[in-house]
């Protein structure tokens, strides 16, 4: 059984099909049609809802795409939808701001925007006087509007943030916290309609045991990729083991030499540690899908699904990150570059799962740069993703780690390029030779995102850019710096 709050109402669901998404649950099971389906693939944001959960003894509100969230992920949480914002016949301040600023035209994307704005407002610190448009951009990058061109919505965001007033959710906070504490998961939850089932263990040990016993099960973390198998490819997932309730696997810890990231930590929670250590990693994470996706999607999932175009793996490989794999009681640690074997094939054994990702901390002698190139700057899949981690001593390249996404069937190091760089002086001539070598390393594909020729030239140009940024740091090189 899973239990959650549908705004204030306690719902206990036992026999739901676990392949049901929150969007389907709302529209088809509960008749709440305010939340819209625009794409059922997590790319348009029309289905955005807010989920409240306990973090310690506080409530935290985050947006997510209800079309990509299976109902089991609601277990122990509060689901807030657009219908819940109006209170005693009055529009909520974010709704009123959208009306005042003419922020809706056809209105179909509007509920999603309203929920993103609601979470933006909620996450604004109390007593904050200044308004940060950058945060608004981040909050809204996953909501598409085809009518307005966004200007009035940005205006509404500013009004909503600056006019933040205590609302009914604040008034009820203590009660909501108490309700959530009462339904806090205490044991592995199961949801089953008799045919399909989902299991939500609470500890790594339980996960290990369950997965060993059900090696055919699909691991569900954020579900932002797995759910597509149901909503886009119309497959059934008979058994899912949901790792999102395992607190141990959601930790991000910084030790003297490493950042240790639990495989089930949402990308949003990885941001601070990675951005502080590697600013380019932070920049990339801000363009990694959308906030809704980052609130759900995990680093473990981004590695686990073994996509050739996942954005984190090239960076992690360049940084020499390792994955901790576990099966039953047995753990092993593997360099991430050895994890990816072939297109969608990994070193993960049946019943084995990713427990942790270990990222070395930055050292002053290393230069790290990462770049993402895509058709659209925000929420787009990379044509090329490049990462360079170079140890430069006295103008010589002592150690080069160069990795790319989008250039091969797996995220991959550029061996010939690295060989050219290693031991060579860090100068234009070396860079040009290393660019030549990239053509040996990769034979990229032509697809809907880019041609092979473009991919190769861009890969080479990104190395040139990396060199230029280090040699002529005052030269402007990034259009993304214009915000």
């Amino acid at each position: 059984m899973i239990q959650f709050l549908l705004n204030r109402e306690l719902r206990s669901e036992q026999t739901l099909d676990p392949n049901t998404t929150v969007l389907q649950y709302l529209r088809e099971h509960r008749g709440k049609t305010g939340t819209k389906e625009g794409c059922a693939s997590g790319d348009c944001g029309a289905c955005t809802v807010v989920v409240g959960e306990l973090v310690g003894d506080r409530l935290r509100y985050r947006t997510l795409n209800s079309c990509l969230t299976f109902v089991c992920a609601l277990h122990g949480k509060q689901l807030i939808t657009v219908e819940d914002l109006k209170h005693q016949g009055q529009l909520h301040s974010v709704q009123q701001a959208m009306v005042d600023c003419h922020g809706s035209q056809c209105g179909f994307c509007t509920p999603g925007f309203v929920m993103s704005l609601f979470a933006l407002q909620k996450n604004r610190g109390d007593g904050v006087q200044t308004y940060d448009p950058h945060q608004t951009h981040e909050a809204l990058a996953g909501n598409l509007c085809r009518c307005t061109g966004y200007r009035p919505i940005l205006e509404a965001a500013e009004q909503a943030c600056c006019a933040k007033q205590p609302d009914q959710f604040d008034a009820r906070e203590a009660g909501t916290i108490a309700q959530l504490q009462r339904i806090a998961p205490r044991e592995t939850a199961e949801l089953s309609d008799g045919e399909k089932r989902s299991l939500s263990p609470l500890t790594v040990a339980d996960l290990a045991e369950l997965y060993a016993a059900n090696p055919q099960a699909r691991l569900l973390a954020g579900g932002t990729d797995l759910a597509l198998e149901v909503t886009q490819f119309h497959r059934e997932l008979p058994v899912m083991i949901h790792v999102g309730q395992i607190t141990e696997m959601k930790q991000v810890q910084i030790t003297d030499r490493h950042i240790e990231i639990g495989a089930a930590a949402p990308l949003t929670d990885c941001y601070a540690a990675l951005a502080a250590e590697y600013p380019d990693f932070g920049d990339l994470l801000q363009r990694f899908a959308s906030l809704q996706i980052r609130n759900q999607g995990t680093l473990g999932g981004n590695i686990g699904n073994a996509s050739p175009i996942g954005d984190a793996p090239p960076l992690l490989i360049a940084l020499g990150a390792e994955v901790v794999l576990r099966k039953g009681d047995v753990s092993r640690t593997l360099p991430l570059e050895d994890y990816f074997l072939d297109y969608k094939v990994t070193a993960r054994q049946p019943g084995e799962f990713i427990e942790q990702i270990i990222v070395p901390r930055a050292t002053p002698d290393r230069l790290f740069r990462a770049y993402k190139v895509s058709k659209r700057l925000d929420d787009d899949i990379s044509a090329v993703c490049a990462a360079f981690d170079l140890k430069i001593t006295d103008g010589m390249i002592a150690d080069a780690r160069v990795a790319f996404g989008g250039m091969a069937a797996i995220p991959k190091r550029a061996a010939a390029c690295e060989a050219t760089l290693n031991g060579a002086p860090w100068n234009q001539q070396t860079v040009e030779a290393a660019c030549e070598a990239l053509a040996e390393d990769f034979t990229p594909l032509t697809d809907l995102r880019a041609s092979r020729e473009y991919r190769l030239l861009v890969a080479q140009n990104l190395l040139r850019k990396c060199f230029l940024e280090q040699h002529a740091p005052k030269t402007e090189t990034r259009v993304t710096a214009y915000v």
Binding site: H102, G103, K375, L448, L457, T477, V479
Partner: protein, 798 residues
Amino acid sequence: MSNHVTTRTQEEIAALFTEDLITGVGKSVKHDSAPKHVSGEAVYVDDRLEFPNQLHIYARMSDRAHARIARIDTAPCYEVPGVAIAITAQDVPGQLDIGAVLPGDPLLADGKVEYIGQPVIAVAADSLETARKAAMAAIIEYEDLEPVLDVVDALHKKHFVLDSHTHKRGDSATALASAPRRLQGSLHIGGQEHFYLETQVSSVMPTEDGGMIVYTSTQNPTEVQKLVAEVLGVSMNKIVIDMRRMGGGFGGKETQAAGPACMCAVIAHLTGRPTKMRLPRMEDMTMTGKRHPFYVEYDVGFDDDGLLHGIEIDLAGNCGYSPDLSGSIVDRAMFHSDNAYYLGDATINGHRCKTNLASNTAYRGFGGPQGMVAIEEIMDAVARELGKDPLEVRKRNYYGKTERNVTHYYQTVEHNMLEEMTAELEASSEYAKRREEISAFNAANPILKKGLALTPVKFGISFTASFLNQGGALVHVYTDGSIHLNHGGTEMGQGLNTKVAQVVAEVFQVDIERIQITATNTDKVPNTSPTAASSGTDLNGKAAQNAAQTIKQRLVEFAARKWQIFEEDIEFKNGQVRLRDQYISFDELIQQAYFGQVSLSSTGFYRTPKIYYDRSQARGRPFYYFAYGAACSEVIVDTLTGEYKMLRSDILHDVGASLNPAIDIGQVEGGFVQGLGWLTMEELVWNDKGKLMTNGPASYKIPAVADMPLDLRVKLVENRKNPEDTVFHSKAVGEPPFMLGISVWCAIKDAVASLADYRAQPQIDAPATPERVLWGVEQMRKLKQAASKPAATQTTPA
């Protein structure tokens, strides 16, 4: 009946009478549905309470671009529990073809398929997922035929859906031959997915007498009514279409909404059960038509000042497999291949190429944008050839006011505002100063380059098919003074209902709160034109004004009789009525009129005056008037990756006397961003089998919040009423601003051209994806290198 009207003293009413309406014409009234949009209470077709026993329909699409259907076996569909019926073309009781203007679009494929995505069978079941699963279980066997997938290939083979057509003025061949300078070139212009957030959807309930009530998301209720009647083989009066709102249309629901509606009706007819068909996004993008991609070839003759002497342009629209609206769409591309410019002796050929793709259809601008992109490319090319600022060349070629003011289709361009508007925008955007700043920036920055462009828009308003320029409305005033408003237009987010309500409010001098806007419904206002061609307000606003004025005139005549005063002594203002020297409220007058047995309901009608067009001669006045605009955009381009960012856009746009400035600005901004999306990141990619690969928002990227210019300054032209007698002298605003986005495309090319000192035009087809931009960069770098080589190297014999 009882009389509960609040009584006010004469002084109180007189005081109210002196005040203006808060929500009349010209006020920034909020979209009438806004509070419902933001609370999730606005009901779209898929949100309606489902009927008991309702069936969900899924259409299985062809996976071949061109094939004969050898065999269909639907028996396996019935093995899936929950399936009610599986149908093929043979099961359609009436006419199979649902082509909008011309035949060519079978509801279900009949013997052959002509594109990947064409519906072949339809299955109805108790859920959409069950229907889909069952549909995929059917056995369909094909014998492949050779497809035509490339527009240039189709053009060369003269593989057309309709005959080619020519606009001709003077002798372009001679003008070209004698012009001091001459340039030839070609350009591909990409199509565009509408990406309305709400996909195509219809829900149908069978009624008695073999009729149907159809709830559908369509811009064209009357056409859906006609086609539903035809596929069922019943008369139109059996069918009712109800359309409250669309979650976006943009032209994509002008003809393309009919398919799901007809499919629902056929299955409702066959099963006697209510039906619903909603296309999942991937099916919607695969099955339905888009903006036409175009291939353009041009030959232009000009002098050293950049003045055009003659021009020949071939515009080849990629129509997909059937005519749909391509006749008018390519015509409109031809009509707009002058944009704002006097072309000299001109020959404009329009071709309608047939390819094995979804049938391309109406999309905001209706071909106009493609014609305008062509001429703007030519303006840039001429400027680069002469080493002039493109803006100088553009201004040089603007239509004159008294001479050089006749288009290549012989319509005189009247009331041309572009010279003044360009001057104003040049000043307000500080074009000259920023041009210098950009030169300095580009000289100092090796990697990032900035570009700037100011481009005009002149867009003809009226349906190209003249008979469509008519509108209807129905207004009731109830005895409590509340007003029911219905008209033939459809609300897709553009604020049409709000504007029309403002018009009625203004006529009656009452506030909009008392006007109930209702769903567009074919049994209230019949024989409507589609809400398209930017015409919604012009036609339906005028019709509603006409209906309201009819009732108002009856009220005036009644009051004059009852109170024994002259009609001129009766005045309506702010909910009150002055009867010579006494005042009563509007409500009171209505009550009295009811007791006086006055009809308080009226239809209204309007047809656009002055327009005519003889297509056989390619001459006439197809447009009642022109709407004008201009945009100045600045971008920054990364010459290592081709990525770019929009930095600033200044827009000045002409809406005549605005009915609602906030809604008009919303259309201007939204149109502009949609236009820049079309020309930058929105790329449709098909594979070599003709399958659309960009079939969802993961692969097809429309502008997101970060893609709007960092600094966007939009202004409406002030104090310029439409000189024509349009509704309160406003101008249409739906489509014209879309083409302001061309400024961004030109600015990107400007940034790239800087790499070769602005002396060559980079070949950057639309959309200017980062990849195309980078190839443009490479082209410029090679030219620059070639130019900087010593002369000796250049003259080395080959």
